[in-house]
């Protein structure tokens, strides 16, 4: 599914923020990503959702070598990746339903299908009464749920989340993680960047740990480290 081989990343002429990163995420796997602030978690996620190209090294995504892909090949690949951004990145002028509908509409889905699926997923995340609410009228937690619903509406093959439970209480955080679990059971590969040790312990998945730009993969049974 995802393979990084000796990947390095630097911004401009600055120092490398990621160094010799190598790992493989098999299809249908579930990983937490941890590391201190500035360790390179967001940069690694950006490489995974194709917002950046590596300065060196090889990235293989869905069996395709990223170095060989043209710009025109990328949108179709990006539509197979669901991303929950740390700041939610909702479009303020669009309703919750229209925000969630973006990936479907980009993929050319029919309007009836769009409305049906988006209504269903928003009900699933507990926002069935806020279908046409603008993000500015929703609480932080509700906005986060809209962002998560948008990331999974397309049934992505790869689901990436940057601190998805950062703005919600533990109960809702747990509920959202169960949503990611559902997507995982449906076959999606999931990577969640988080600082929430309680969630990591509760769900007991392997952990990708970043420290000073270098990566260590810890198996699930070792995930109970302090």
């Amino acid at each position: 599914m995802i393979r990084f081989e000796n990947v390095g990343l630097r911004y401009g002429t600055g120092p490398e923020v990621l160094r010799d990163v190598s790992f493989t995420l098999p299809p249908g796997s579930f990983h937490f990503m941890t590391g201190a602030s500035g360790a390179g978690k967001s940069s690694l996620l950006k490489l995974m959702y194709l917002a950046l190209r590596p300065s060196r090294g090889l990235i293989t995504l869905f069996g395709r070598d990223m170095a060989r892909l043209t710009r025109a090949d990328l949108p179709e690949l990006r539509r197979q990746i669901g991303v929950v951004f740390q700041d939610f990145s909702l479009l303020d002028h669009l309703s919750a339903l229209d925000n969630v509908a973006l990936p479907l509409r980009m993929g050319g889905a029919g309007e009836a299908e769009v409305v049906e699926h988006c209504t269903e997923i928003l009900r699933w995340v507990g926002l069935g009464n806020h279908l046409h609410a603008l993000p500015s009228t929703l609480s932080g937690g509700q906005q986060q749920r809209v962002a998560i619903a948008r990331s999974v509406i397309n049934r992505p093959r790869l689901l990436l989340a940057d601190e998805p439970t950062g703005n919600v209480d533990d109960g809702i955080g747990m509920r959202l993680l169960f949503l990611f679990e559902e997507m995982h059971k449906l076959g999606a590969t999931v990577v969640i960047a988080t600082h929430n040790e309680a969630l990591i312990r509760r769900f007991n998945h392997p952990r990708i740990h970043l420290e000073n730009g270098r990566l260590h993969v810890m198996p699930a049974q070792s995930a109970h480290w302090a």
């Binding site: 959702y49 194709l50 917002a51 950046l52 190209r53 710009r71 990328l74 949108p75 179709e76 690949l77 990006r78 539509r79 197979q80 990746i81 991303v83 990145s89 479009l91 303020d92 002028h93 669009l94 339903l97 229209d98 973006l102 990936p103 509409r105 980009m106 993929g107 409305v115 049906e116 209504t119 279908l131 046409h132």
Partner: protein, 297 residues
């Protein structure tokens, strides 16, 4: 299943709230107005030139001026000239204008006194040709048969007219092209401003898998709706202006000025102006967005 509420066309980008939106509508209205007037001017000049051309081509004018006493009379020389003309191959008809006709032609310059029989008026013969005429030989024969006769085949006059009409045409087209160029620049500016204002949203759509064409379509639709409104407004204003000019020109009695009337054919051509403006704006918007998005990974 909940039905979505009725709403206007949805744009992923909130372009309608951009400050550039209003200016593009007004600018398009002004440009279409000016372009339509320029084009209408070119059409009227074209009509005028065609009328002059049709009136003068295929014709000759023979003038016989009065001579001092002792020569043959003006009437005798006119008859002689008519005989020569009517026997010349390529000439369909030759008709001498009456003194009243000549008086009417000179009236704009000489007033009512132009018809005064005491004035030494020349005689004019209107000749219509239906084939090639050897004007050099004919002139020589006319001078021999009717001393004081001169012939004008309008060649110089027609060439000047055609050159003048051509220059006006080119000037009008240059004005339309300049207006089009200014319009393209305005659209490029507006679209770039829109892309800068909504950089975050554009990047987000891009990361979510939107193709460049998908983003470009948003701008195209927006620019189309703005320019369509502006274009229609400009066209209506231009037609009203031309109708006003036509109304004012109808009171003039200067026969050399073109008639300013808008017929169906003129209207059909003028309607093309906002249509072309909209298409040009759409293509420009698409091109600008696609070029700008090339910088994204």
């Amino acid at each position: 299943m909940a039905l979505p509420p009725l709403r206007r066309k949805r744009f992923d980008l909130p372009l309608a709230k951009d400050p550039t939106s209003r200016f593009l509508t007004w600018l398009t209205a002004l440009m279409v107005y000016l372009a339509a007037l320029s084009l209408a001017g070119a059409l009227f000049v074209s009509d005028m030139a065609r009328r002059w051309d049709t009136g003068l081509a295929g014709g000759l004018t023979v003038q016989i001026v009065p001579l001092p006493a002792g020569s043959a009379t003006l009437n005798e020389r006119t008859e002689a000239a008519l005989t020569v003309l009517r026997s010349t191959p390529g000439i369909r008809s030759a008709t001498a204008l009456t003194t009243d006709d000549i008086g009417r032609l000179l009236e704009p310059w000489l007033g009512k006194e132009a018809a005064d029989p005491l004035l030494p008026m020349p005689r004019l013969i209107d000749v219509v040709t239906d084939g090639p005429v050897d004007t050099t030989a004919l002139t020589a024969r006319l001078k021999s048969a009717a001393p004081g006769a001169t012939m004008d085949d309008h060649a110089v006059w027609l060439a000047d007219l055609r050159r003048f009409a051509g220059a006006l045409h080119l000037a009008a087209l240059a004005v339309v092209a300049l207006i089009g160029g200014a319009g393209v620049m305005a659209v490029v500016f507006a679209v770039r401003a829109g892309l800068a204002i909504h950089k975050h949203v554009v990047e987000l759509l891009h990361l979510m898998g939107a193709t460049d064409r998908y983003v470009a379509r948003q701008f195209e639709s927006h620019v189309l709706s703005l320019t369509l409104r502006g274009g229609l407004g400009g066209l209506v204003l231009a037609v009203a202006t031309l109708a006003g000019i036509g109304h004012a020109a109808a009171g003039l009695k200067a026969s050399l000025l073109p008639t300013v009337t808008i017929d169906v054919w003129h209207l059909a051509i003028l309607v093309v102006v906002p249509v072309v403006a909209c298409l040009l704006a759409m293509v420009t918007a698409r091109w600008t967005v696609l070029r700008t998005l090339e910088s994204l990974p």
